[in-house]
C-alpha cells in the first residue's frame, strides 16, 4: 500500500467514522436512559433521509436547510414510539425489547417500501464541489460537512446534558431513575424527550448522509449494525466513546477496503463487533450517559 493510498483511506475512514458516530450517539442516548437497544434507529435514519430527499426533489431545498425539519419530524415520531410502544415495555426481558424494535423496523421499512417504492434516489447538490484537494488528498465535501456538523452537534448535546434542567434530568434518570423520580423528575416525560432526541439525532444523521448516500427503504440496515458495533465499542451510554468508536470503525473499514478484495471489507465491522463482544463487552470506555 502506498503512503498516498494509506492517507487517503485514513481521511475517508475518519470522515465516514464521524457519521457512524453520529448514528451511534442517538442509539447510545436511548440505551443510556431507557436501557433499550433500539433496533429501529436505522429505520428512523432512513425516514430522515426521505424528508431531505423530498424537500429537495419537490421544493429544491438543500438538506442542510431542511435539516431542522428532519429533526423535528423524527423527534415526534420518536416520542410516539416511546409513548405508544416502548413505555409499556419497561422491565421486559432484553430480547423482547429487541424484538419490539425489530418489529417497528420491519413496519417502518416496509411502509417506506410501499409508499416510496424500492428505487434508489439521490440528491445532487449543485454549487458545492464534489471534492476538495489538499496535499494531493481528495476530501469529499459533503462528508466533511457531515463530519463538522457531527462534532458541533456532539458538543451542543454535551452542554445540553450538562447545563439545562432537562439535560440534568436525563442524566439523573440514566444513573438512577428511582432516585430521580424521588426528587421530582417526571420519568415518563424524560423518557419521551430522551427517545425523541435520540430519534431526532437519527433524523439529522439521515439529512447529513443524504447528499452522498442513496436514499432507499432499506438504507437504514446498512448503518444500524455498524452503529451497534460503534456503540458497543465505545461503551453503551458513552458519547465520547461513540465518536471515537465511530472513527475507529470507519478507519479500519476504510483501510480494510484498500487491502481486502471485493466487498469483503464489509466483514471488518462484524469481526470487530464479535471480538469486542467477547473480549470487552463493556466497551473501551464503559459507562453511563455522560
Amino acid at each position: 500500500m502506498t503512503a498516498e493510498l494509506f492517507f487517503q483511506s485514513l481521511i475517508d475512514g475518519i470522515l465516514m467514522g464521524g457519521i457512524y458516530g453520529l448514528v451511534a450517539i442517538g442509539l447510545t442516548l436511548i440505551f443510556g436512559v431507557m436501557k433499550i437497544i433500539n433496533f429501529a434507529q436505522g429505520a428512523l435514519l432512513m425516514l430522515g433521509m426521505y424528508v431531505s430527499y423530498w424537500c429537495f426533489a419537490l421544493f429544491g431545498i438543500s438538506p442542510y436547510i431542511s435539516l431542522p425539519l428532519s429533526a423535528v419530524i423524527l423527534f415526534f415520531i420518536g416520542m410516539l414510539i416511546q409513548r405508544g410502544v416502548l413505555q409499556r415495555m419497561s422491565g421486559a426481558p432484553d430480547h423482547n425489547q429487541l424484538l419490539v424494535t425489530l418489529g417497528i423496523t420491519l413496519f417502518i421499512e416496509n411502509l417506506a417500501l410501499v409508499v416510496f417504492k424500492p428505487d434508489f434516489r439521490s440528491i445532487n447538490l449543485e454549487g458545492i464541489p464534489n471534492t476538495i484537494s489538499i496535499l494531493n488528498l481528495n476530501i469529499h465535501t459533503t462528508k466533511l460537512i457531515a463530519f463538522v456538523f457531527t462534532i458541533v452537534l456532539a458538543i451542543a448535546l454535551f452542554y445540553f446534558l450538562k447545563k439545562t434542567y432537562i439535560g440534568k434530568a436525563i442524566r439523573a434518570t440514566s444513573i438512577n431513575s428511582g432516585g430521580a423520580a424521588l426528587v421530582g423528575v417526571n420519568i415518563k416525560k424524560i423518557n419521551y424527550i430522551a427517545f425523541g432526541i435520540g430519534a431526532a439525532l437519527a433524523g439529522i444523521a439521515g439529512a447529513l448522509i443524504s447528499p452522498f448516500f442513496y436514499t432507499s427503504p432499506t438504507v437504514g440496515s446498512s448503518f444500524i449494525l455498524t452503529a451497534f458495533v460503534v456503540v458497543v465499542l465505545g461503551g453503551l451510554g458513552n458519547f465520547l466513546g461513540a465518536l471515537v468508536g465511530g472513527v475507529l470503525i470507519g478507519v479500519t473499514e476504510s483501510l480494510g477496503g484498500a487491502i481486502l478484495p471485493g466487498s469483503l471489507k464489509e466483514l471488518v465491522p462484524y469481526v470487530i463487533f464479535i471480538l469486542v463482544l467477547m473480549l470487552k463487552p463493556n466497551g473501551l470506555f464503559g459507562g453511563k450517559v455522560r
Partner: protein, 325 residues
C-alpha cells in the same frame, strides 16, 4: 386420562395434516401447506435453543443458509443427492453452531449481546458466501427441475407435502423428547436463572452447546428442503435478516418454549402473509409490514404467545374448578 386426551388431540391434528392433500386439487393450497410445514419446522428448531434454553438467536439464517447452500452446491458440483446433502448441510451447520456456541458461551455472551452476536455471525457468513466463487458469489444457485425422487425431485407437490410433513413430525418428536429429558429440564433451568442452574450442578455450558448444535442442525435440514423445493437460492434469501425474522416469528406468535407454539404460529402467519400478499399484490412489502405489526402487538399484549396464553387460561380454569369442588 389426561394423557389420552392430549394424545387424541395430537392424533386428530396429525390426521388432518395427513389427509389434507386428499381434499384439494389446488396446487396453490398445497404450496401454502408446504410453506406452513417448513416454516413450522425451522421455527421449531429455533425454539429448542431460544424458546427452551432462552438463548435468543437473531441469526438462525446462518444455519438455514448453510443447509440450503451445502445441499445445493454438493448436488450441482458432485451430483450428491440432496437426501444426503441435507445431512452434509446439517453437519456443517452443527460445526458452525458449535464454533459460535463455544465462542459465545465461553465468553458468557448473554441476553441482547448473544442476540446481536448471532446476527453478526449470520452477516459474516452472508458476506463470505457472497464473495466466494465456490458458492457462485451473488448469483446464487439455480437447481435443475426434474422428477427423480432419488435426487429429491418430485413431479407433484403432494410428494413435497408429505416429505416436509414427515420431516416436521420427526423434528417435533425430537423437540418433545428433549423437552421431557434431563437436557430439556437443564435448558429450562438455564432460561429461568442460569446462575441458579449452575449452582445446582447443571453443566450449563454443555447443555447450551447441545441445544445450539441440535437447533442449528435441524434448521439446516429445513434450509435444504427450502432450496430443493424453491430450486433457487441466493445469499440474501437464505442468509438475510428477513430469513432470521421469518424463522423467529411463528414461535413468538404461537408461544416460545412450547411444542405446539411454532406449528400454531406457522398455521396463522403463513396464510396471513398470503392473504395480505393477495389483496395488496401490487405492493411488495405489505406482508412484512403486517409481520412487523404482529411482532409488536404480540410482544406487547401476548408475550407468552397463543399457546402460552391458552395454557394459562386452562390452568386458571382448573384452579377455579378445584376451588369450587
Amino acid at each position: 386420562m389426561k394423557l389420552n386426551k392430549s394424545l387424541l388431540f395430537y392424533g386428530i391434528g396429525l390426521l388432518i395434516l395427513f389427509i389434507f392433500p386428499l381434499f384439494t386439487e389446488s396446487q396453490y393450497y398445497l404450496h401454502i401447506g408446504i410453506l406452513i410445514l417448513y416454516s413450522a419446522l425451522v421455527s421449531q428448531a429455533w425454539n429448542i435453543l431460544s424458546g427452551y434454553a432462552g438463548q435468543f438467536s437473531f441469526g438462525h439464517a446462518m444455519f438455514f443458509g448453510t443447509g440450503a447452500y451445502i445441499s445445493s452446491i454438493f448436488f450441482m458440483k458432485y451430483n450428491l443427492t440432496p437426501w444426503l446433502g441435507m445431512f452434509a448441510g446439517a453437519l456443517v451447520a452443527i460445526v458452525i453452531a458449535l464454533f459460535i456456541g463455544f465462542l459465545s458461551f465461553r465468553y458468557k455472551l448473554r441476553g441482547a449481546y448473544f442476540s446481536l452476536g448471532t446476527l453478526a455471525f449470520a452477516e459474516i457468513l452472508r458476506i463470505v458466501v457472497q464473495n466466494s466463487s465456490y458458492f457462485n458469489k451473488t448469483l446464487g444457485v439455480n437447481l435443475p427441475i426434474g422428477d427423480n425422487p432419488l435426487m429429491f425431485q418430485f413431479a407433484s407437490r403432494t410428494s413435497y407435502y408429505y416429505v416436509i410433513l414427515i420431516m416436521l413430525v420427526i423434528v417435533t418428536l425430537i423437540t418433545l423428547w428433549i423437552s421431557r429429558s434431563r437436557l430439556g429440564f437443564s435448558l429450562i433451568a438455564i432460561r429461568e436463572n442460569e446462575d441458579a442452574a449452575q449452582s445446582l450442578g447443571v453443566n450449563t455450558f454443555r447443555a447450551k452447546m447441545t441445544a445450539i448444535a441440535i437447533s442449528g442442525g435441524l434448521t439446516a435440514i429445513g434450509g435444504a428442503f427450502y432450496a430443493q423445493y424453491i430450486l433457487y437460492i441466493a445469499p440474501p434469501t437464505t442468509f438475510g435478516n428477513d430469513v432470521s425474522v421469518s424463522i423467529i416469528l411463528p414461535a413468538i406468535l404461537g408461544g416460545m418454549g412450547t411444542i405446539l407454539g411454532p406449528i400454531i404460529g406457522a398455521l396463522i402467519i403463513i396464510p396471513l402473509g398470503e392473504i395480505t400478499a393477495h389483496f395488496f399484490g401490487g405492493f411488495a412489502g405489505v406482508h412484512l409490514m403486517v409481520y412487523g405489526l404482529i411482532l409488536v402487538l404480540v410482544i406487547l399484549f401476548l408475550p407468552e404467545g397463543i399457546v402460552g396464553w391458552v395454557q394459562e387460561k386452562l390452568r386458571l380454569r382448573k384452579m377455579k374448578k378445584e376451588g369450587e369442588s
